[in-house]
Symmetry: C2
Subunit: 212 residues, 2 copies
């Protein structure tokens, strides 16, 4: 959009800061009351901004929700890219999932995740962003799995695309359960998650023996 | 509460019918607009009842939400009980999960599931019902897994309680993903779900060979 780095142009940098301030305020409000029960006035109050100033950045609550989803999901591909160079593909996937879960269990964003899902099902604009980001994440994991297959660490017979959808479902499900139960329970669930992932992805024992 | 079967007492039966009519109407409304954007008036209109009649059954929207969660979750233990007599424990678990997924993918209840989750995180009354029903479901699955262990069909080293939490997370996650994507995709995801469950629960290959 602009050749100049936003970090170096003070005007763009201020715009970026203001957008961040509004989104953080909105997340805090939504976490307390949900998307639909929260008015723009509450977001203005939380951000310490006038409606006039806020509307310059986001014309509607829907625009804020879309920006939150966009930001939330945009971070995930960055976290996944190192997987493409990992020596131990399955181990790196598990560690990456742990980081994703820990990051999403921060108290200030706790109730957001299922609500984003509910909104994605109902609201076509949010759904479009969610699906686009999901696709991006999915494409990286497919490449990770294909690389694991080539390295003999992952069952060559596994359909990487379907396996990726399943792993994303599994990880989302674990996150949902951790949101319902005390977050400290992560340590109880992680060994199960790890067992499941290792057994699901590993080549069958016979082919492992043949390779040894 | 009452010794007389509600099906035989016409007055109780009518009350039951009216409650069902209101809950079905509320689900239709919530599915379209979400819990918070839906007013009691919309539920009255959908149910074809006056506010006075409706308030006799449910004093508030929260009371309706709680009754929906209660009804939704109350059905699950009934579906699970046959598992306690299954010959093929893992096969029966997979079939049961398929029925659960298919039942929750009905278009009229589509967006309810993540919203119930969001509500359970935010609303202590809904959380309490959700956790109570989850516990009931969990207790049955723990017994199913213990039975599978005794039969040699499930890894004896597996912690049945943690494995149950994990299986519930996994199944919820698959449901969430199916809600986001076209429901027809169930057939693509089910073989992955089945592979995962079988490998996760099965005794390790060495002990299987020893048993043969």
């Amino acid at each position: 959009m602009n050749d100049m780095s936003p970090l170096r142009d003070p005007r763009l940098r201020r715009q970026e800061d203001q957008r961040k301030r509004i989104l953080d305020a909105a997340i805090a409000c939504f976490a307390r009351g949900g998307f639909h029960a929260t008015g723009m006035q509450a977001v203005c109050a939380e951000a310490g901004m006038s409606p006039g100033a806020l509307y310059r950045y986001f014309p509607s609550k829907d625009a804020i929700i879309e920006a939150i989803v966009e930001r939330d999901r945009a971070d995930i591909p960055k976290q996944l890219t190192p997987l493409l160079g990992a020596d131990d593909v399955i181990g790196a996937l598990i560690e990456c999932a742990r980081q994703f879960l820990v990051g999403n269990l921060k108290p200030e964003s706790l109730p957001m995740f299922p609500e984003l899902y509910a909104e994605a099902i109902r609201n076509p604009a949010v759904r479009e962003i969610t699906m686009r980001c999901d696709e991006e994440v999915g494409d990286i994991i497919v490449r990770v799995l294909e690389r694991g297959k080539a390295l003999g660490q992952i069952d060559a017979a596994l359909d990487a695309r379907e396996a990726t959808r399943f792993l994303m479902a599994l990880t989302d499900g674990v996150l949902m359960r951790l949101l319902l139960e005390p977050a400290t329970e992560l340590e109880g669930l992680m060994p199960m998650y790890e067992r499941s992932l290792r057994l699901f992805l590993a080549p069958p024992p016979a082919s492992r023996e043949a390779a040894e």
